[in-house]
Amino acid sequence: MSEVPQRQAYGQALAEYGEKNQKIVVLDADVSTSTLTSYFATRYPARFFNLGVTEASMVDVGVGMALGGTIPFVNTFAALLTLRACEQIRTCVSYARTNVKLIGGYAGVSDYKDGPTHFATNDIAVMRSLPNITVIAPCDNLEAARMVPLVAELDGPVYMRISRAVVPDVFDSSYAPRIGKGVILREGGDVSLVATGTMVARSILAATQLAERGVRATVLALSTIKPLDTELLAQAARSTGAIVTAEEHTIMGGFGSAAVEALAAVEPVPVEMVGLADNFAETGPDPETLMDAWGLSVGDIVNAALRAIARKAH
């Protein structure tokens, strides 16, 4: 387990990268001490714009800044960014293909203490339905930090969701993420656990538990949800014949749906989806307990794997 929350890894990486790339500007909607763009704000006050609770306008201001030649990172809570400012994103970022980097903090249920109003559980569904936008959910601190330069240097709009929580480490320092490329974390022939964001670490734990039962699982980290690494996904489906998807998000329209859509076309195999069902979850004592209570536990992944294996044609 990392010592610091994912948002801190992101915030510090953004501040560090801001030194190297003077084109970076950062916009926030009065939550910079939550998203932790405050690190950037302190170091580069002239390139930091706190626009108060004007999320919709903030996205449009970011659009103007992109058209003016800077590279704007537009930050607020993921639910506000992707829902309150959705039309701005659709028309002025997605359709107009402006080089705006949308960073949604407090992703999933990580803002456990504030409850469902603050959860972002359909942001992936909304963002992946918009053409031209790359959608990323880093699975640990290292990946969140190392994505910052890649997101900045990609020519085009990006949506990246960042957890408020302390999340387990998945990668060691040798890892160099690539946008659009998944990673095989573990190989086994019985079932593939494919996960995004914070559910990657839980899928690794699930694979360990499955191994104790004699079930060998492949684990894939698919941190880029769009464009999805369909090739790696299809390869896992072919070699194991059963898939479990896992995401800290509703199963309706999100990462699992993206995987199912891709597999339906190239390698239809039994798929079980782990994620929030059609609900808002609830306020909880901490992110882990909350995830466990609402269908996102390691045990839920294990059970889904066993169901998927049972559905394989013999």
Binding site: A56, D60, V61, V63, G64, A66, L67, T91, C92, A96
Partner: protein, 280 residues
Amino acid sequence: MHLHTHELQETIREQAANIRLDVLDMVYRRQAGHLGGSYSAAEILACLYFHQLRIDPANPSLPDRDRFLLSKGHAAAALYSALARRGYFPVEELATWGHLGSRLQGHPDRIKTPGVEMSSGFLGHGLSIAVGMALAQRLSANRFHIYALMSDGDMQSGVAWEGALTAAKYLTSEVTVIMDFNDVQLDGPGHEIMPLEPLRDKWRSFGFSVIEIHGHNILQILDALDTALDIHSQPTVIIAHTTKGKGVDFMENTAKWHGSVPSEQQYLQARQQLTGARDE
């Protein structure tokens, strides 16, 4: 303040008349489009494209070009006419509006159409985008002015007033809002649907310098645009009182002509009126 010669005003008057005729042909040919809001903006667009904007159609990406944002994107046909006549693309291309494969979309598209600075369609975006351009400019070596043409419909949207808050915070005098205040919207008179008055007071209290003009008076438009450039302490709004459907008697001040298409008889009648006005 520059002296605006009679000759200049005459040129602009002709271009405004050309815009109206082009838009009539475009909407009639396509059997779709927005005449009323294009006609209320005709003189404003002509003043911008044939005098005010520091732009070069041969180099549409010059970093220090002035930016024009058509926030009221439904006046797309008028913008396309102005761009074509200013030399961004052939005037004949206006006939392709709405065809599959055309560079001219129903509403402005910055990717497809040369000279279009930003895509627009749904109302409210222009001011915030203009403010963003101003803030980006300050971090660069380029110096340019940004014009956002907003409608009364634009100013009913919350996001537009959020943009005004931000413009005031950063004192973006690089931005001039021109408000095409025709007081008629899709469903009826603006003051009945959602009143904006007292508009001058609203803009003032939001930190804008306010100039109020007759929006079809070319000299007043030109003078106001010049005055706005001389105000360096705050953003400026030019409230241009206009007439929706201006130039065709049966279209003026009626909500019906927000998005209606003329019959053949109406088309011929409108053409006669507009041609007569042009050749006066």
